[in-house]
Subunit: 675 residues, 2 copies
């Protein structure tokens, strides 16, 4: 028992307080009071992770007056550390400084193991650092012939005695390095300990001789059908130190998911080929991002991966054939922990571990689960509709009471595929466009330049890339602008030159196209929006809207409070144009926000926090899954959503801010034209 007149210590910012026997170190006091104070060396005064800033003076708030005599003077260990490595003014090593009298101790953010990391987005909750990995320095008893035991058993015993850690395991390849590492470190080693959950026994996943300086890192990977994106994240600070992406090499087996599933069905060994390709790509990506950041590969010991069900299964070496046909049965849907070597990602260290987020349903993958983790509809008071737009759109609808999910087969039109002048987002692609409602003249911006096409210097700025086509956001804006400029009626018919009074309307068989840019004089392409393009966009946006509407039916609501556009593509969609197109239900335009690559963010959150992994697993279990393929109302919603913005929904919020002329063109050139 601590005597009542023992020193009182107050830790900030936690506010935790208590009395400790005089002479107790700050680190020991923190442990006793449950204060989060980091340490790798276990109090040996060499890692400096336990640095604290004592505060002296009168603290009315805490009822404490403290003087510099409240802490012991520097001892030899602390003086040696300060001399060799430097110690900022006002800082002390928590494991060396002893508490002698009442004192206030501030624990700076970098000394907190479970610090909170504030995400960029203003509305998002902070992420608490709670990574699967931690570092522990241990001094291992050398072998003794009189009491023979394995080096591993003595390491295990040291972890128990010095850190209170029980039941550690180790994999063979890490064990193979144990004896040389122990001897290189003169029986002192730093162990990386990985846990799959807070109460699971840890696994030794890496060992270094002596004290390991610096951080460990993790990779958060968004495994998309088209691109594979990765963030390299410090597992100490939670900061992204590098981001990188590569094309998914499976594209050579099929552009979209269904063509890859077909490839697996039609070609014996086809699934294994695609598995090999994506694993090799992950190896390259890991090497690339480590080189970019200048981080040794052996520091990258934890990975989180998200992806749609087909990507997920192919990565794991599971044949995706069942995902190509009803009832779309997953081999497994739950979150998985496995060693990276089991997936043959050979560039990573032997001990690297992977966490795959859970899948929601046969069409709604771990990427959607990651979006749910990142955007947290289950913590929202408002009813939020979250759409992750890609080849398939994953749709979440929910609030803190209930969360629904579905997938909708939008097809690749939103990515510029199946569009006559469409292309992938790349320099030269038109990404934004405005059409003057009076002159019907377009102006546009291409990827690679911030200038609009009517700005001075545009030609020079784009001379390198040219103007090459329409990327996903470009085609969406073009169709929406045509609608607002009266060049396109609500049924999706393009007007003729006569009907619209614009020479840019050029006949194409029995339909018309809108000429955006004629580059033929300089050998470039003629960029138009054709009637076929409009139909492709209509199909895609109807599917997206119908999926959202189906969830609203299930939720028994007619409106949502806000819409979040997620996905790399979502970041580039203008909310106004998305509303004009009727991709999403009618909400005030300011309530449509972009979450950027929310799946990647979710992967990053899971990488930083075991608690977040438990959170997404629990959330996925309670999500109500809606299968669009078997819902009879889907077709009905789909047909009604074909009109631009919609055949029956009034879109009154939208009409307050956007012109939606009542033009009506028919295929024969306007015989039924009214007004």
């Amino acid at each position: 028992m601590t005597e009542p007149n023992s020193p009182l210590v107050v830790f900030t910012p936690s506010g935790k307080r208590g009395r400790v026997p005089a002479g107790t170190t700050v680190l020991e006091a923190a442990r006793r009071l449950g204060v989060d104070l980091d340490s790798v060396c276990g109090g040996r005064g060499i890692c400096s992770r336990c640095q604290v800033a004592p505060a002296f003076g009168q603290f009315a708030k805490h009822g404490i007056t403290s003087t510099e005599a409240a802490l012991s003077d520097w001892n030899r260990v602390e003086a040696r550390y300060a001399e060799k490595r430097g110690l900022a003014p006002g800082r002390r090593l928590g494991c060396q400084a002893q508490i002698l009298a009442d004192v206030v101790i501030d624990v700076p953010a970098e000394s907190q193991l479970h610090r909170q990391v504030i995400r960029k987005a203003a509305d998002a909750r902070p992420v608490e650092m709670d990574p699967a990995l931690r570092l522990c320095l241990v001094e291992v008893t050398p072998p003794d012939m009189h009491a023979p035991s394995g080096d591993l058993e003595r390491l295990t015993e040291a972890l128990r005695a010095q850190w209170g850690i029980e039941g550690v395991t180790i994999s063979l390849p890490v064990l193979a390095d144990l004896q040389t590492t122990l001897r290189a470190g003169n029986w002192t080693v730093t162990a990386a300990l990985h846990r799959t959950s807070a109460d699971a026994p840890p696994r030794i996943t890496a060992l270094w001789p002596g004290l390991l300086e610096g951080d460990l890192y993790g990779l958060a990977i968004d495994l998309g059908s088209t691109t594979i994106a990765a963030h390299l994240v410090s597992l100490r600070s939670g900061e992204v130190v590098a981001s990188s992406g590569i094309m998914n090499p499976q594209i050579r087996f099929g552009e979209d998911l269904m063509s890859r599933v077909s490839y697996a069905m039609m070609n014996p060994g086809g699934a294994a080929e695609m598995t090999g390709a994506v694993r090799e790509a992950l190896t390259h990506l890991a090497q690339k991002i480590a080189a970019t950041a200048g981080i040794d590969m052996d520091r990258i010991l934890d990975l989180t991966i998200v992806g749609n069900p087909v990507m997920h299964h192919l990565l794991l070496g599971l044949d995706p054939v069942e995902l190509g046909q009803a009832p779309f049965a997953l081999a497994t849907s739950e979150a998985l922990n496995l060693p990276a070597r089991n997936l043959g990602i050979s560039a990573l260290p032997e001990g690297a571990q992977i966490y795959l987020l859970p899948l929601i349903a046969g069409h709604v993958g771990a990427d959607a689960a990651a979006v749910a983790l990142s955007e947290a509809p289950d913590h929202s008071d408002e009813l939020a509709l979250i759409v992750d737009v890609g080849t398939n759109a994953e749709i979440l609808l929910g609030n803190r009471h209930r969360v629904l999910a579905c997938s909708s087969p939008t097809g690749p039109a939103f990515e510029g595929a199946q569009i006559s002048s469409g292309q992938r987002a790349a320099p030269g692609a038109i990404e934004a466009i405005r059409i003057d409602p009076t002159t019907k003249e377009p102006r546009f911006r291409v990827i690679g330049s911030d200038l609009w096409s009517d700005d001075p210097g545009f030609a020079e700025a784009t001379a390198q890339t040219g103007v090459t086509g329409l990327c996903g956001s470009g085609i969406i804006e073009a169709v929406a602008e045509m609608r607002m400029a009266g060049l396109l009626d609500s049924a999706g018919l393009i007007g003729s030159a006569a009907q619209t009074g614009s020479a840019r309307m050029i006949p194409e068989g029995r339909t018309h196209a809108y000429l955006i840019h004629d580059g033929s004089a300089s050998g470039g392409p003629v960029i138009t929006v054709t009637q076929g393009d409009i139909r492709a966009i209509q199909l895609a946006k109807s599917a997206l809207y119908a999926g959202a509407r189906l969830l609203m039916d299930e939720m028994e609501v007619d409106a949502v409070d806000r819409v979040v556009l997620a996905g790399a593509f979502g970041a580039h969609i203008s909310p106004l144009h998305a509303l004009v197109l009727g991709m999403i239900p009618d909400v005030p335009v300011e309530d449509v926000t972009s979450a950027g690559n929310a799946a990647g963010t979710g992967a990053r959150i899971a990488l930083c926090s075991l608690a977040a992994r438990r959170r997404v697993e629990a959330l996925v279990r309670r999500i109500t899954k809606v299968e669009t393929a078997i819902e009879p109302r889907f077709q009905e919603h789909f047909v009604a959503a074909s009109a631009i913005p919609h055949a029956t929904a009034p879109f009154t919020q939208l009409r307050r801010v956007a012109p939606l002329p009542d033009a009506m063109f028919n295929a024969e050139g306007g015989r039924r034209r009214r007004r």
Copy 2:
């Protein structure tokens, strides 16, 4: 609650009894009363593992009178089974027959999951079958788009609901087969469930569509430096269905352990080469033994492996260099569970699991632990000395109070190496020899024939093989016989022709040799025992005796109650000759027994029983290890043990049954000869 007038059921042979509601099936009654009754199909009447033999009549012992009406008539399931598959007279399917009135039910051995297997040796305790693997038939709910979940999650749920099994895991390669197996079995599959301990969550290690007929098998492997021996064992009956052995291909890197450790030290990548060689050999051995027994490889799902520390480490891919120098530090000493694929034993099914027994010390391996498990000195009232004779001798001394262990560097002389006419045990090798004390003439037997050399027909019987040399037991018997025939004095000097009166004593420089067989007339070898051979055997046997004596010192005893000779070689050593040589301490010759390949038997016991694995782990932890290399008294004991049988120990028990003439020859031809 069961009413007091409910039927009373008594199960034999367990004697377990209790009342169950009328209509309860025998299988269900067995479960409620804790009676060991097997079932794979979970009561569906298709596996017939729950067959029982009801007994009718008056059973005074049990206080029961039972009639045939005590059990329900055959229902359709049972009738169908009997018709299709046959059911022996008096047998019922426990899962179908309902208990209607008081009855005695006998559970035959083959219907007991945990049956006791009686080992051959009369003194050994029976082994209870308690294998790591069990089979469970489950009916899995087909996928449902309205409630999407993975096939694995529905399999897991079925195991929980139908078998009460929680927390199952699966490895990726087994998961990869799940979807096709479920569909091939029309949603009914047999799962092989592997546990590392009775309370560990099981792992699905194999799946078959529908009901799997027949048994699962395991391999018990004794990984020796010279040979690798394996037993293929039914995990249902515990029976050995095939045994096989191959040479350890590491021999090409070095004959004995130390030369292999040297190879690893001197050649970069040398350890990995030897690891690869032994893993490949295990693959071949598994294929060979499965082919011999006509068993599908996919049935072989569990392995136990024992071996000395160097073999153990090389198999695991751990560099053995530390085992070649004091303090002989093991990388790890505890028992290990790991997937066979982690050791690259590619012929085995993906899910096969390996259990490696624990190591006792840097020189005393898992093979010695297996001997301890098999011979169970810790269950012996008498003080037992157990020696496993090979290149190194592992020695155990103990009783139920205390067990000691050490290793002694006997060298390879006992295996016929470093002996002038020595050879491996192979057809043509002299394995037994007798020397007439009067005529000094030898007669002998060679491997490949049961005839003695003075039997009629010996020449014809050995014409194929010839008489090629002395194997281990041959040289031991030869030396002991020479000592008893007065051809060799207690100091180990061979007498001359003059000293012994035998023309078979032929001069070799300043020493003499004893001529056993002269095959030179037919182009065969001249087989002799030279003075150098005697010295080699003296070194080996002194090391063995000194090791045993060191343990006796530690135990503070001067005699042991019995001696067990273990090892493949131990099986061929004649107890009398071992005593004459002074390999082992003096005991009545009838108290020297052979345990055959006790290490292999220990591996087999561990294969059949999780409880045995826990037993050997607990035993190894409590064994006191004695390191001969650092015990000063070892050298003293070694010198005293050089004489044959011993310089100071009287060997009074031996002298009662064996002549030990007091001859004394010196190097100059008998000038100091007395009597």
